[in-house]
Amino acid sequence: MALPINYSVRNISVRWASSLFTALGIAMTVAVFAGVISLQEGFEQLYRERGRPDVAIYLRPGANSEGESAFSRERANILLKERPEIAVDAQGHPLAAAETFLAAYMEQVIGGNTNVPLRGIQPASIALQGDALQLVEGRWLEFGTDEVVVGQPVSERMVDCALGDTLVLNMTPFKVVGVFTHAGAEGGEVWGDAERMLEALDRSYFQRVIARLKPGTDIETVAAELEDDARVPAKVLSEVEYLAAQTTYLSGVLEGLAMILTVIMGVAAVLGSMNTMLASVGARTHEIGVLLAVGYSRFSIFMAFLIESAFIGALGGALGVLIVLPFDGLQTGLMNWNTFTDVSFAFTITPKLIMTSFVIAFVLGIVGGTLPAARAAALKPVEAFRAA
């Protein structure tokens, strides 16, 4: 005979304060987990699934990000003009751009400095980004002049970056002539003519070459060919691979952090729920004796208490999700340690994350309840009766 679920639910409501505090302990664990992972999710979404397999990124061998890469003008030109795998447009120009990249200090509107990516572009750069890139205000910059266009979050968060403002880079004033949006991390950048940027910043190296590949190009072959090239040794990756490599540090740290926090807090939560369930069993000792005496099986008693603790876990899961749900969509900024630049993104709570949180809470409840439930099931009716 199984005990009705009602029995377990009634127990929870009788000891509601204890159950609630236990559930809250579990909720805190889940909230911290979901909070950190939603941060990671938001960050990852800037990069993940945005890469295109037919766009290639050329970096210096050994470099994993633009900041570590460098090509002299000479080498960049060889890549731009002579690579057979690069597609050409209707006019026969290669669909490729050599770009400069610099994580530059900028002052935030709310105060304090942060690193914002300055990208020097060539005309093909804009076309290469395709539909992901949209101009929302003003116009595109005119090449050969000291003009920049800025990503929307930069325009909002940084000093001197609104449309019409003048942004001074080292000694040279640049005029902000347009604001763009980009679904990826590029949305948080400042773009200007690469030549003008090099001049203004007194630099002589490009950081990467980006190019659209001819259909059917095998990027592995190209990569192998250029790896030890005598004239331009280069590391070639598809945009997919390249973007995936831009999240490794921060994502790894956030994932590791979430795991450590969940495990440690989970242990505490399990101990708490064990406490509550032991008290619940203790208070019901006499009742358990009666149930055993009238013929309920030990298993049904075990299950009744396990269900009780699973309910507490589920309640904790629900509360935990409720705690983090308001964060969904909240904009925040973090340093991407791969590129050393500030990226802005939103806490992102996916259905999958909600499910995972629930499962964690559920498991915490059940793990905490197993021992007390076993203890209840192992009671001898005689002893149970003797207890007050």
Binding site: F21, G35, V36, A63, A104, T114, N115, L201, L271, N275
Partner: protein, 409 residues
């Protein structure tokens, strides 16, 4: 105000399972709290212990833009400047890129003078301090001598010696991503000395090597010539104000070719920490959640205890103890429980410092549970004990004797 205090430990012992589970839950949570707080305090300490007597001229545009080499002489000529050293981030790795640690090319001629208060040389070419009667001064002198005799000489922190099992005299091959050699071969450094950091702004996993070796290797064998200096480090002559000297340096280069920004070392560290993202806010939010979790677990325990304590409250009051007696006992029980759990947590955090420091590795080489962190964690435990105890304490104090005696124990 007589209170039979002995009841407090008796009750905790009588319900030892509950006490044990609560204390254990608190232990892990307070341990976590200590861990999180330590991360923040270590970052803050690096800022607060940085020298106010040193300023760091660097590009006003970006951390990654170099200053021209000829700024060295110009900065040295500024009134109030005592010493100038060049610093360059080498960005190399030993064995694999994952074995990350910091390496700097520095002007070794002045480096030891400028940083004598931040680190101590503990081992030189002739052995560690103390071995065969070597004094600290002798070891320092030997290291400095070896550094000027040997172009490839480098000094490394104790952490690197420990983590990579290096020895003085070892030849260390390193690859650099920033300044690779044209033929792809490795740079080579020879360990001539080991330092121990004396301040939190200095970590024990850094390698310092000679600037001239860096510059010459880049120019002769590098993929690209050495074109500039990452940052300069400047000590201020006594009697001068660091802010004024810094302003003079910045004014000197206001018209280029590279504008400079000359923060004090402390401000530079603070900016660097701030750029890591809002770590303190992030960590305190999580810490808050952890504190709440602890709170819930203690409150729960105290509620359970209070439920069983009403007949006892009745007896004590009937005997002539004042109304508050049970409240004080509950509060004391809650505080004692929290302090025991918190104390265990703090002890665990202190005991596991070393493995955690190693786990964090390059991210936070100075990780340590400082005394002040331990005190704060105990303070938080105490506070949680007080707040968790107040509810049951008030309830039991308010309970009428007749009701208390009627209810079941």
């Amino acid at each position: 105000m007589r209170t039979p205090w002995r009841l407090v430990p008796r009750h905790l012992r009588a319900h030892w399972v509950r006490t044990g589970l609560t204390a254990a839950a608190m232990m892990v949570a307070v341990f976590l709290l200590c861990f999180l707080m330590s991360i923040v305090t270590v970052l803050e300490k690096a800022v607060s212990e940085s020298s106010a007597n040193r300023v760091v001229p660097q590009s006003a545009v970006s951390l990654f833009v170099e200053l021209p080499l000829d700024y060295h002489g110009k900065i040295a000529a500024v009134p109030g400047v005592e010493n100038v050293a060049k610093f360059q981030w080498f960005g190399g790795y030993y064995r694999t890129p994952e074995d990350f640690f910091a390496q700097f090319a520095v002007s070794h001629e002045v480096f030891f003078d400028m940083y004598e208060r931040d680190m101590r040389l503990v081992e030189g070419p002739n052995g560690p301090v103390g071995a065969s009667g070597l004094s600290a001064d002798e070891v320092s002198a030997q290291v400095i001598q070896a550094m000027s005799d040997n172009r490839r000489a480098a000094i490394v922190g104790q952490g690197l010696i420990r983590d990579f099992e290096w020895k003085v005299g070892d030849l260390i091959p390193m690859q650099s991503v920033f300044v690779p050699k044209a033929d792809g071969s490795a740079w080579e450094f020879e360990v001539v000395g080991v330092y121990e950091p004396l301040k939190a702004n200095f970590d024990d996993r850094t390698m310092f090597f000679r600037w001239d070796y860096y510059e010459e290797t880049c120019n002769n064998a590098g993929d690209m010539p050495a074109t500039g200096v990452g940052t300069y480090s400047v000590t201020i002559e006594e009697g001068y104000e660091s802010g004024e000297v810094a302003a003079r340096i910045d004014a000197l280069f206001a018209n280029g070719p590279q504008r400079t920004w000359t923060p004090t070392e402390a401000v530079f560290q603070a900016t660097f920490v701030a750029m890591l993202g809002n770590v303190p806010l992030f960590v305190s939010t999580i810490g808050g959640a952890v504190a709440f979790a602890i709170f819930f677990s203690v409150v729960n325990t105290m509620l359970m205890a209070a439920r069983q304590r009403s007949s006892e409250a009745g007896i004590l009051k009937a005997l002539g103890f004042r109304n508050g007696v049970m409240g004080r006992l509950m509060l004391a029980e809650s505080i004692l429980l929290s302090l025991v759990g918190g104390g265990l947590g703090v002890s665990l955090a202190i005991a596991t410092q070393e493995p955690f420091r190693q786990m964090l590795g390059a991210m936070l080489p100075q990780y340590a549970v400082l005394n002040e962190t331990a005190m704060i964690a105990l303070g938080v435990s105490l506070l949680i004990g007080v707040i968790a105890g107040i509810g049951p304490a008030v309830t039991l104090s308010r309970l009428k004797v007749t009701d208390a005696l009627r209810s079941e124990g």
